[in-house]
């Protein structure tokens, strides 16, 4: 553990990912859940970068770039849905949004 290695990155990635996951599982505000999902995506990027650095590869960075682009797209659409939801149901509490049941 004296030299920086991919293990450090992986541990950080795991920690961030699991914090994000716990957030998704426990929070009720759809916006916070949204942020937690971003956190999980970001955690994946950390591990990708760590591998890329350790293995002298650029593939990891390329994939991280795509993840960022997709996260941006997801954010745009997700927030659009949130806007439409609040306009229609006037709430951001996922426990009150039960249309998926029908």
């Amino acid at each position: 553990m004296t030299e920086l290695s991919a293990t450090h990155f992986l541990l950080l990635s795991a920690a961030l990912f699991i914090i994000g996951m716990v957030g998704v599982l426990t929070r009720r505000n759809i916006l916070v859940i949204f942020m937690c999902i971003e956190l999980m995506l970001n955690a994946v990027n950390v591990s990708l970068i760590g591998f890329a650095w350790e293995l002298h590869q650029l593939t990891g960075q390329v994939f991280a770039l795509f993840v960022i682009a997709i996260a941006a797209a997801e954010a745009v659409v997700g927030l659009g849905i949130v806007m439409a939801l609040t306009r229609r149901a006037d709430t951001v509490d996922i426990d009150e949004l039960r249309q998926l049941r029908e």
């Binding site: 293990t7 914090i19 599982l25 971003e38 990027n45 293995l55 002298h56 960022i68 996260a71």
Partner: protein, 241 residues
Amino acid sequence: MSLQVLIFSLLACVSILGALGVVIARNPVHSAIGLVLSFLNVAAIYLIARAEFLAVVQVIVYAGAVIVLVVFVTMLVHPDDLPEFHGRRPLRIVTGLVLGVALLLEVAAAVLTRSLSGAPGPWTDEAVAAVGGNTQALGQTLYSDYMLAIQLTALLLLAATIGAIVLARPEAVSERVAAARRTLTISLAHPRGLDQPERPPALPRPSDGQVKPAGSGRPIVLARSANEFTEQPAWGEWRTP
């Protein structure tokens, strides 16, 4: 412990603290601040891993655009009273925590007992420096090996943009058209647009305007040409119901 590990640990700790802040904070804006903090530290960690371009992109896109958007929407959704509903579901919190700890233990076990095995790639620090830096190296890889992926991503972003615009539009034109259809009957008065080959017997020619009440009180709109009501609407006004 080398300086590198020290800096890394420092940044990682702050990053994890920020992430915890996201989950724990009762106010979504505070969550967002925690998230930005976490992201900025992760960007700094990217710098350690010699991914300068990604670090900057991380800041610009994640911190600068995505989270700003989230904060923006947070404020738009309920500008006055941001809802604070954390929990009131103790069972769910406990389950979530248990699952999280379990997964953390599993992953940590897997990571710590393993070492990375894999052939090192060609992009050593010297190789990266030879093409001019991380950005140039990344660019060369992106626009040669990942050309199709880049184009698909561009397409995805375009689709997302359109989707977001459609989702966020306040009122659809089609609803207005449908509302008009419920109250109006559109009839074609052009002789060549009719079913019968003969000319119709003296159609009412409203001289005082276009709308004339019919028998049941429903107004009839007389079209002056066959295309008047079938013309494509102008760009941007059309949306399929």
